[in-house]
Symmetry: C2
Subunit: 362 residues, 2 copies
DNA sequence: AACGATATCTAAATCGTTTTAGTGATTAAT
DNA sequence: ATTAATCACTAAAACGATTTAGATATCGTT
């Protein structure tokens, strides 16, 4: 302990109770082999001294800490707290404690934290901050350390268990919705291409465009970093293009960037959805506010977190080495709100496009 | 390690390098007393084996882990992630890693986590989920374990270091602002009274009312839990009072509840601020959105988190036992936005009240 | 050549638990 | 009464590092 009074140890208890440390250990762990009388005496003394077993020492000897780490990209992106909440609840129910660590999507920091995990005494880790081609993650998984990736995944990582959303499908749905509302010039604010979500949500959009035979100029694809300010900047740039090059709709690959774009449009006195339609991704709490009401793609956050937590515990507690990798891809759902203008138009304008004319996803 | 390949230990390295474990330890910690040749050889072998010191073992012997815990109430209340972000940055800069643990404001869980902290190998803890009269917190502080409370405090805890906002002043400012805009029937949505913030933000409002000679009926004070839904419910109830008993303004003791109220008013087709004014507390990111624009009280979150982190490290690193308790109370700031109607009216209606007529805060 | 000083390295104790193997004592079975 | 089985307990070895005190070897000085 850093300073202050020395903590009570098992030896203090054993001395006072006139038994060996082993006996105290048995008592504290509810193990058989101790007489009722001794057990009671030890418990009473432990209570009186306010003895709590040192979890670091315990963790050293039996390699279990009941501590799980969750790596998130940032607490400032509300998706991660929302995800963490589900994980937390599932873990608490099983007697584990969750530690949330943020890596800010910095590759170095991410690698450092991943490398440290194994040696920090965590029993396992849930990674939602996953980037691509992470050597440390590969090593961690290969070493047999319990890892479950949630939301994002690292394609390079062979044995990695994950639960993700079908981002391609989500991106497709968002874009197709805009297309069916009659939009032909759709601006895309894509996410960081070092994340699987960033890649897939863009890819889905491009598939949709291709299926509907829509060309998209480079000026209408901008890369953001999943934070609000980058969405703001991207929207500003696109709206400052010459009149005829401007988008009539924006698809932002996450809600924070959509909100940034929303702010930019507001500042420019562009009406949403009358002048420009807008759709985001993630269905974070803000988008549902009545005064915001941004259309978006929803994912089952609570379920995702819960399943990841349960899978991780399963790995930890049935430590077979031959385990099958567990992979799950959840279905996205389109949430139609005010900003895409559906209510305005009442129906899709392009229903005349025959289904055979386009590739049905996937 | 739970399963999989055995991790590389200091012994593996020492064996391969033909030195004792002690020497390897010296090398890994950049200590003198090892020849350049040996040092190089050890480093090379450590690198080849991908050896990383086991932090649990290290922590056991020298009582340092470079791990800090932060107890927050919930990730779903955006104030906490925003606070944690500041703490995280300050800690990272000094080589520490932050673990965020949420307690959901449940007294039992809170106590359990606090009690466990000391034995989990954390070097210190930042508590922002603080409730009142927590025996475990008192014991922890008394034991000399490094603790800094931020945002909230436990009045019963004598030696507790804290950095908080002047909640009474903030509550006073919010309410006074509404009063000066001419409001006489102000509904208050207070927070949980087991938190210092809940208590103070209400107290400040009552002081302001008293100073301006305003009576407030019981029906216009409702208790929420700092979450959105409780603000929604409280606003709904108040707006369903008979016409003449309804509030003309609402003061919610945090932004989430203000947003809930905002939603309720929207649903009831009550115009904000024309029919009912609204002010929140915390200046969380959502309130600043153009389409939301809720007036609120701002606190210096980043600075608060940073200072708490730095103070904690100071305690940890200069382990004097005679340390003075460190207490800081920061100044709130009124953020005037759309929902309180200031822009509408352009000036305070009650400027005729002479300053001497009321008690100037504090 | 002898001495002390310095540099390099190691053996062993330590941190606070858990666990294994084994010791006595008591009880049960024949 | 003897042997076997059971019970209550303990000594000592882990776990994987750090640290202290001491052992060797090397060097310089006179």
């Amino acid at each position: 302990m850093t300073s202050g009074k020395r903590a009570v140890t098992i030896k203090d208890v054993s001395r006072l109770a006139n038994v060996s440390p082993a006996t105290v250990s048995f008592v504290m762990n509810n193990r058989p082999g101790v007489s009722a009388k001794t057990r009671a005496r030890v418990l009473q003394i432990a209570e009186a001294l306010d003895y709590k077993p040192n979890l670091v020492a315990r963790s050293l000897v039996n390699g279990r800490s009941k501590l799980i780490a969750m790596l998130i990209s940032s607490t400032r992106n509300p998706l991660f707290p929302e995800l963490a909440d589900g994980v937390d609840q599932a873990l608490k129910a099983k007697g584990y404690t969750l530690s949330i660590i943020s890596t800010n999507d910095e590759e170095q920091l991410e690698s450092r934290e991943i490398a440290a995990l194994r040696y920090r005494g965590f029993d396992g880790v849930i990674i939602s901050s996953t980037l691509q081609n992470n050597r440390e993650l590969n090593k961690l998984v290969e070493s047999g350390f319990p890892v479950v990736s949630v939301l994002r995944r690292d394609y390079s990582c062979k044995g990695l268990d994950y639960i993700v959303l079908d981002g391609i499908k989500g991106g497709y749905m968002a874009t197709e919705h805009l297309i069916r509302l009659g939009h032909r010039r759709i601006g895309i604010i894509k996410g960081p291409q070092k994340t699987s979500t960033g890649l897939e949500r863009l890819k889905g959009a491009l598939y949709a465009m291709a299926d509907y035979g829509i060309q998209i100029p480079d000026t209408l694809i901008r890369e953001g970093d999943f934070f609000k300010s980058s969405g703001y900047a991207a929207a500003m740039e696109m709206m400052r293009l010459p009149q005829e090059e401007r988008p009539s709709a924006l698809y932002a690959c996450n809600d924070d960037m959509a909100i940034g774009a929303f702010e930019a449009l507001w500042e420019l006195n562009v009406r949403v959805p009358e002048d420009v339609a807008l759709i985001g991704f993630n269905n974070t709490a803000v988008t549902a506010l009545k005064s915001v009401s941004i259309s978006t793609i929803s994912l089952q956050k609570a379920s995702m977190g819960k399943q990841a937590a349960n899978r991780l515990i399963e790995i930890i507690e049935n430590k077979k080495d031959d385990r099958k990798t567990f992979r799950l891809m959840l279905e996205p759902e389109l949430i139609v709100r005010r900003t895409c203008g559906f209510a305005l138009k009442g129906k899709y304008l392009v229903d005349k496009v025959k289904d055979e004319d386009r590739r049905i996803f996937p």
